[in-house]
Amino acid sequence: MTTAALDAPPPTTTPKAIARPGRLRSSSLRKLREGGILTTLLLCGCFSLLTTVAIIYTLGRETLVFFRGVPGKFDGVSIFEFLGSLRWSPLLGAEKHFGVWPLICGTIMITIVALSVAAPLGLVTAIWLSEYAPRKVRAILKPVLEVLAGIPTVVLGFFALTVITPTLQFAFIQRPALGQDGRPILGADGSPVMAAWNPFGIEGYNVLSAGIAVGILTLPIIVSLAEDALRAVPKHLREASFGLGATRFETSLKVVFPAGLSGIVAAFLLAIARCIGETMIVGLAAGNNVVPLHEITAPSMELHEFHDQRAASLATVVPGTPFVTEAFRARAGERLDEVMVGLAADAKAPAKLELLDASGAAVVASGPLAADETRVIDWKLPTSGETKGALRDFGRTVEQAGDFRVRISSDAGPLAINAVNVGGERLMPLAKRALIPVDVTSSMQPMTGYLVQIFLGDVSNLGIEYYSSYAVAALLFVMTFALTVLGHIIRVRFQQQYD
């Protein structure tokens, strides 16, 4: 034992602090900070209320301008015409009509097609997921549905345009394309132009493929919401049913499904709201044809907007092969105001535009139109970059009733044509007229499709079309808002209590 060891001082043990004491803070400052934080959060909360108010104010303000008109620019449209008239022709023609029902009809048709695809599949899948499916299957199916839900709508619209429409047209079976006279159309090299078989007569833009794509979009919504509703049904109901000897199918159908009905109905309403508001899919695949509802009551056919298929199928004008539209009938005293031709983006070749009478003889142009006058409208395409060539206001009055067609021929190069519009109103072959509102094989423009069409153009001149789009959007908002509120009420009020 050395002295050094004895003399060394004992090690001091200061307990390590578990936490450093903070500095004293004043409680009044803390109250101030808490109050400040609360105020900030309240402002955030008000922001959502402000958003709703802003939506209502914005839509309402511009809709009011639509209804009142701007002195000097355009007259207002009365609300009775907007909600009561059956005719919507805002873009072409000397007379503009703003009855919104054709657009609503298009929206309803797309919703019906979408729900007839999504509802059965969705409900069945939801029942299966909640009642039957083993865990492994759930682990596969849930991510698949999540991926489907996360796909952007542009992608689905592209899918509708490039896959669904050709499949419905049976495009994998090609036949020679037939012209107006029943003979094959010959291409630039003399061989027949091949086109899809198309046994159902499905047009390039149609409601069926757009509706199917919207159905694919809403399928995950219905599945997830319906499954939540079914899972919320307590187990003892199912077990009681099993105890009585029911099969799983009978239990699902007669016990679980009615119990979760309120949630399922709410899911449907939300899905309908989603279908109504869908924009990109219908903008790409459903086309711009306004449903001619007023013709159902019209005693005879009037001058119409003619809309042919897209350039990829039948409307390609090559030198030597002119394109002739279907016949439209003009009554005596009718006025032809304009012929507008929509072309593919790089159209350059000069074209000749002719109006043919019933016998196919060439045509009338300037002066009053009689059935057997012959003159040719020589019309050069505008410079490159333009996709619409138009002869406007050449205002010819028909002296004698008859059938007319438009013939477009080209001298220099192939010319791809998207649409031919005559006089600004809808043209329909006589046989198809009765099927107008339910013809899913043809193009129907819904409300959102009209909005896309307006905003694809130039809106800086702020004409009546710009304000009409706000009116349509206001109607759309009212519809989806009502559906959402209704779904909420149904879910809350009719929810089963299991105590």
């Binding site: 808490e34 709703t52 698949v144 559906l483």
Partner: protein
């Protein structure tokens, strides 16, 4: 003796059915379910495969569509040369603005609704109302948000004045005179367009025409559209000119300092006196520009801007220096044009070189990245609020109560206990909401329209385009080649979305492992 069974007559449950037929129905139903689930998977597979088949390789032309040139190129009328770069960068800019605005407001609202439960009945009603409102906003079509963004953000209800309707490309400006179109070139060494410097114009054929290529522009015009001879300076020459102009600026500020000294000495100095000082300084510096017009403007500018500082601050103070520089700038501009000759600045590619600063901000917002990002914020806000609420609800109450038991205030609890444990759930929700925002084309279509954008945005006020919009643009053309481009663009977009979702899934898995 009456038995209880006399009073109770069971209803007929139905005719007895053989068990085998009921079991058969059950099995049929299962088969139907499997078929429909398989159909869903099949549809998804068909979707992805068809797009991949169309977008990756063009079998007829024997080339890869989805190549590096596509990712870094610009849109063009030629399908084989078109690219997606401006749309890609535009999408990222939009995402940044949207995230920066939506996350604070969304998480704040969720915290308010979940943590600050009201006690009084009226407040509870209000909270339910706000909750209902948010649920409704989640169901509003994104198109309506686009219209709201257009009116409220881009045009600002017309209350502030016209936005620059002739702006076309980020960093440059197309000016319209009658039906002729000109592209604006800033005078070399003068800084950016917005400080009102001298600039010159070159004619372009139409509003949508591409910028003139180097060598295409043979004639420049001045502000009154008179033809003028202008030197074209590249980057190095512009730097040299800039140095000369800065020297000129330093010299000219001496003029301003003299005026300030005079105004300090006599606050009620007359305008004539200031003009005399300016003229004297002019002589001393040997300025050659148009004397009468510029001198007058300079004198007025100096007097008005320095009036509030004379006698109050020193000449070396920053506000005074800034005011002098701003007032003297027109003199410098005019003098530079005279002394060095008019010159325009072009970048390495021969395009007008304007350098808008990244912090530039102006009202009304116009069709800018800021307006687009704010519109997307409106679209994603309800989704973020709902998912953050669920994440906050998932935090066990015992944690909060333990924190209260230790004496923490409500905000301290939220900040130190609740939010950190809810962060994985909130982040997952935010990432999924952002990935939904990337795919939204409808509000962007309404706000920006289909414009021929060739440059990426350099500040939040620039025009932009986004990936879904560019895909929509290509998909709505009739030519087949643009379909392949659209498919390639979709592959890119889905790739970006997939990476976002993977990040969200990773976060969720890590949180589940920890918890």
């Amino acid at each position: 003796m009456a038995t209880t069974t006399d009073k109770f007559k069971p209803r007929s449950i139905g005719r007895p059915r053989p068990v085998s037929s009921r079991r058969r129905k059950d099995r049929l139903f299962v088969a139907f379910c499997i078929a429909s689930a398989a159909l869903a998977i099949f549809v998804l597979a068909a979707l992805l495969l068809s797009i991949a088949a169309q977008g990756i390789y063009d079998f007829r032309a024997h080339r890869f569509i989805l190549n590096w040139n596509f990712v870094t190129g610009v849109p063009s009328r030629e399908a084989s040369e078109a690219g997606l770069w401006p749309a890609l960068i535009g999408t990222l800019w939009l995402l940044g603005v949207c995230a920066a605005t939506a996350i604070p407001i969304g998480v704040g609202t969720a915290v308010l609704l979940e943590e600050f439960k009201p006690r009084s009945r009226a407040m509870r009603r209000l909270q339910q109302f706000v909750q209902l409102n948010i649920t409704n906003l989640a169901g509003v079509p994104s198109l309506v948000y686009g219209l709201l963004g257009l009116t409220a953000f881009a045009f600002m209800f017309g209350a502030i004045g016209e936005s620059e309707a002739t702006r076309r490309w980020p960093g440059t400006r197309t000016v319209e005179f009658g039906n002729r179109y000109f592209v604006q070139y800033v005078a070399a060494g003068q800084g950016d367009l917005r400080s009102g410097q001298v600039s010159y114009y070159a004619r372009v054929p139409s509003r949508d025409a591409s910028l003139p290529k180097p060598g295409e522009v043979t004639q420049f015009y001045d502000g009154e559209l008179n033809p003028i001879d202008v030197q074209v300076l590249d980057a190095a020459a512009t730097a040299a000119r800039q140095a000369e102009i800065e020297q000129l600026t330093t010299q000219t500020t001496a003029l301003g300092r003299d005026v300030f000294a005079a105004m300090t000495a006599n606050p009620k100095v007359e305008k004539g006196e200031i003009e005399r000082i300016v003229a004297a300084g002019w002589q001393k510096l040997g300025l050659r520009s148009d004397v009468t017009k510029v001198q007058d403007v300079a004198a007025t500018e100096l007097r008005e801007s320095l009036a509030e500082f004379a006698g109050v601050r020193k000449v070396t103070d920053r506000p005074v220096r800034k005011a002098i520089e701003a007032a003297v700038a027109p003199i410098v501009a005019a003098e530079a044009a005279v002394r060095f000759g008019p010159a325009v600045s072009v970048d390495a590619a021969g395009q007008p070189a304007l350098r808008p600063r990244f912090w530039y901000f102006g009202l009304p917002l116009g069709r800018s990245v800021l307006a687009g990002g704010l519109t997307l914020m409106l679209v994603t806000l309800p989704v973020i609020i709902i998912s953050s609420q669920e994440a906050l609800r998932a935090v066990p109450n015992s944690l909060r109560q333990a924190s209260f038991g230790l004496g923490a205030t409500r905000w301290q609890t939220i900040r130190n206990v609740t939010l950190p444990s809810a962060v994985p759930g909130i982040m997952t929700g935010v990432i999924l909401a952002m990935s939904r925002a990337i795919g939204e084309a409808a509000p962007i279509l309404i706000l920006a329209g289909i414009v021929f954008i060739r440059f990426t945005p350099t500040n939040v006020m620039d025009e932009f385009t986004a990936m879904p919009l560019q895909i929509f643009n290509w998909a709505s053309r009739p030519q087949r080649e643009f379909y392949d481009l659209a498919a390639a663009g979709i592959i890119l977009l889905l790739g970006v979305l997939l990476s976002f979702n993977l990040v969200a899934i990773l976060i969720r898995q890590r949180a589940q492992k920890q918890g």
